[in-house]
């Protein structure tokens, strides 16, 4: 029996416009941050400084731009592949408005310095909870739609959506376990090595299951649509799906090579990363070969051009990723702009271009008209492609050469560039070119905004699109030569459970041993908890996003121990909630900065970095000299630390502020000796206390312990 129903295009339109809006905002913030790296004066206010805008850029692009694109394309394709309207209009609306509210909350809280300090998971706990709830709404809406479908078999794009949903839920919940001390501040439940492993298990798989698998779902739907031919090999797409989700989940530790993470975990991450080339390239070839015999149309059709370059960027990034996980290459590339170039091939190329192609495909269909200008779409294509090249190529050079400069020794065995800043200033021109590339890319996106606007003006939204399909017949359980996979692919709940098992097994096998390590991390007896003042200082360090430019991880290379000091040990970080190893060195590593300079050096340096390091590109932090430290939270902070197992004396929270006052008076007196008059209650005092403490514990001799009061 033929049933009549209507597709909901309004929700697709809403998500599509949100994609465009947040895409432009995210790119604009990215461009601002890029310029701040070359013109420090652009760090105009505490809320407008690089350390706070960089998390805003990454979160906006990943969760707002790409996130809304996933939902726009997902809601469009799900309805048509399942031949039904979305399960609930109300849930669709809650999902849409809830997600936009989360984005607005992020856009307000991140510049205000409310952050957990874990990359791509910076949002504080109330927003984390909101994300979980909205994600569940999305899941219920998606599974409700799947359950009321009129097509028995689930097309491969839907598997990717299911795999995405279940894995993102798992990653987000596990990585966001944190102990709140107020509405706007929490501490990661994990510390040091464990925190690093969980974070990069999350961080890597955010790339895998937020930026990759849902977009592969979109590729498997929109590429055949645009090319008007079925996917090259459906068999290959089956292998692609299962092997990709199975392998990806293990690869996180390749972000922590040469760090204090146990060696076996690093090796496991490398092996699985290399194996990832196979399914990734299988998927890329599957996409490109879909166009076999239709390449002449690629010349004509801007949508296909966007798709071809997007899929090619996917192939490039997924070959480069495994290569970067080889330890010898990682030793050069890690902490440099090479990685920034790599992720932008993925972000601008794969996610950006696929999204643009999809938008150009959707707009005329949603509005029952033709695209306003194919020529403008072509101009957008070329500005985006050239933008990517201008963005990435200079950064590849910059990363490679800066790394070599870090490692270069004179014949006498001294560093050729003992001053880190010299290596940064050498690559400054590459930063200008990067900003130029980003500008061209952004201009292309603005051209798209105009093109979409004119198209929308010329048409009228087909809010409810009529469709018809036969009702789904009851499954006859005849002894069909039943295969397990065919059984699975027509049963979404089983699919969900098997996907969860596949990614769960990987996660558990990867994480559990490292949690067992907890009792096996060699305890370094001289490593003590932070004093209350240092803890406050550390929170300021996190708030200002210092980790976006400074690592705290000296790798066991001669070039690093020579430059910074003793390499990092796992046991040093046991009280670090959250860990602050960082992932990029725009400035030098800070693990051994404690005691390296006098207090007064830090005072002047934070007030105006160029006074201590002429030519420095670091922003000034004048607000730390004006704000007084909020000591009302001291007790809550120490209590939280005790709850998480940091061995403070049980009576200590009650007297913590006494210890804090003693230490800051002593520090103010030390500054006074160097001719600096300042109030002891300023935030800068706490930050200096923390900076002077970092990485000093392993130097302490047991008998001459000078540890602070605790």
């Amino acid at each position: 029996m033929i049933e009549r129903f209507q597709y909901d295009n309004r929700i697709v339109k809403n998500f599509m416009f949100a994609t465009i809006l947040w895409g432009v905002v995210g790119m604009l913030v990215g461009l601002t941050a890029a310029l701040q790296m070359i013109v420090p004066d652009l760090n105009m206010a505490s809320w407008f400084s690089f350390g706070r805008l960089r998390p805003l850029h990454t979160n906006a692009v990943i969760f707002a731009f790409v996130g809304n694109a996933i939902f726009a394309g997902g809601y469009y394709s799900l309805q048509r592949l399942l031949k039904t309207r979305m399960f609930s209009n109300a849930l669709s609306a809650i999902h849409f408005w809830g997600w936009q509210l989360i984005i607005v909350a992020a856009a307000v809280t991140l510049p205000l310095g409310m952050t957990t300090g874990k990359e791509y998971a910076e949002l504080e706990w109330p927003i984390d909870i909101a994300i979980t709830l909205i994600w569940v709404v999305f899941g219920v809406n998606m599974f409700g739609t799947i359950l009321k479908r009129r097509e028995r078999h689930l097309y491969v794009a839907i598997w990717f959506f299911i795999g995405t949903w279940v894995t993102v839920a798992m990653l987000h919940i596990v990585n966001s376990i944190e102990l709140p001390i107020s509405l706007t501040k929490s501490y990661s439940w994990y510390a040091g090595v464990q925190d690093a492993l969980v974070q990069w298990w999350y961080g890597h798989n955010a790339v895998a299951f937020f930026l990759t698998t849902p977009f592969l779902g979109l590729m498997y739907y929109f590429l055949p649509k645009a090319a008007n031919r079925p996917i090259y090999s459906y068999k290959l797409s089956v292998i692609h799906f299962w092997s990709l989700i199975f392998l990806y989940i293990w690869a996180g530790p390749h972000h922590l090579l040469y760090s204090s993470l146990p060696n076996w975990a690093q090796s496991l991450g490398v092996v699985f990363s290399i194996m990832l080339i196979a399914p990734s390239w299988g998927g890329m070839l599957n996409g490109l070969l879909t166009l076999r015999g239709a390449w002449d149309r690629v010349r004509e059709d801007p949508i296909l051009k966007f798709f071809v370059v997007a899929v090619t960027c996917y192939g490039m990034a997924t070959l480069e990723g495994p290569l970067l996980s080889l330890k010898s290459i990682n030793a050069i590339a890690h902490f440099t702009d090479w990685i920034v170039a790599h992720v932008h091939i993925g972000g601008l190329g794969w996610n950006g271009l696929l999204t643009f192609g999809m938008i150009y495909w959707l707009v005329p269909r949603l509005y029952g008209t033709q695209l306003h200008s194919k020529r403008l779409a072509n101009i957008h294509f070329w500005s985006a492609t050239l933008g990517i090249i201008f963005y990435a190529v200079p950064l590849y050079f910059a990363g490679f050469f800066q790394s070599l400069m870090w490692k270069q020794f004179t014949p006498d065995g001294f560093l050729v560039y003992p001053n880190f800043l010299d290596t940064l200033l050498e690559i400054r021109s590459a930063y200008w070119l990067r900003a130029f590339g980003g500008t061209i890319y952004l201009i292309g996106a603005l051209i798209m905004v105009y093109n979409v606007y004119r198209t929308v003006r010329a048409g009228r939204l087909v809010a409810n699109e009529d469709a018809e399909a036969p009702a789904m017949e009851k499954l006859v359980v005849a002894k069909e030569s039943g295969h397990w996979h065919r059984w699975v692919e027509s049963r979404p709940i089983q699919m969900l459970i098997i996907s969860l098992i596949v990614v769960g097994v990987g996660g558990i096998l990867e994480l559990i041993p490292t949690f067992l390590v907890k009792s096996n991390v060699p305890t370094i007896s001289s490593v003590k908890p932070y004093t209350p003042l240092e803890l406050h200082g550390r929170d300021i360090y996190v708030r200002e996003g210092c980790y976006t430019c400074h690592s705290q991880m000296v790798r066991p290379f001669r070039s690093e121990t020579e430059r910074y000091g003793e390499y990092a040990k796992a046991g040093e970080f046991v009280y670090d909630h959250p860990f602050q190893w960082g992932s990029k060195r725009t400035g030098p590593d800070l693990l051994r900065v404690g005691g390296k300079y006098p207090d007064s050096w830090h005072y002047y340096h934070m007030l105006d970095p160029t006074t201590m390091s002429p030519g420095s590109l670091m922003p000034a932090y004048s607000h730390l000299f004006e704000n007084s430290l909020d000591t009302s939270t001291t007790r809550a902070k120490i209590d939280a630390m005790i709850t998480m197992g940091v061995p403070y004396d049980p009576e200590f929270p009650g007297v913590a502020n006494v210890a804090l006052t003693e230490q800051r008076e002593a520090l103010t007196a030390s500054l006074h000796k160097d001719g600096i008059e300042t109030y002891s209650d300023r935030e800068i005092i706490a930050l200096i206390a923390y900076l002077q403490r970092i990485g000093t514990d392993i130097k302490v001799k047991p008998l001459a312990e000078t540890g602070p009061t605790r």
């Binding site: 592949l81 097309y155 649509k225 076996w264 495909w361 194919k374 009529d466 065919r486 040990k569």
Partner: protein, 67 residues
């Protein structure tokens, strides 16, 4: 100092079971999948791969949307 990072492997009992298990799991799973895709009829895959094309109007971007 090296002892701080060198002995993680030795200090966890039965650590080798984790990498070995993961390898066996993956390859077992992978072999099953290869066996399955070879076994399934091509007409099923044909049907599956045509699902997105369906009854939609011609998707060329020059086409006016038809309901």
């Amino acid at each position: 100092m090296l002892k701080f990072i060198k002995h993680h492997l030795d200090t966890i009992n039965g650590i080798d079971v984790f990498p070995v298990t993961s390898f066996i799991l993956f390859f077992g799973f992978f072999l099953c999948m290869l066996w399955w895709v070879r076994k399934v009829s091509s007409s099923h895959f044909q049907h599956m791969s045509e699902l997105p094309l369906g009854e939609d109007p011609s998707p060329s971007e020059n086409t006016t949307h038809a309901i």
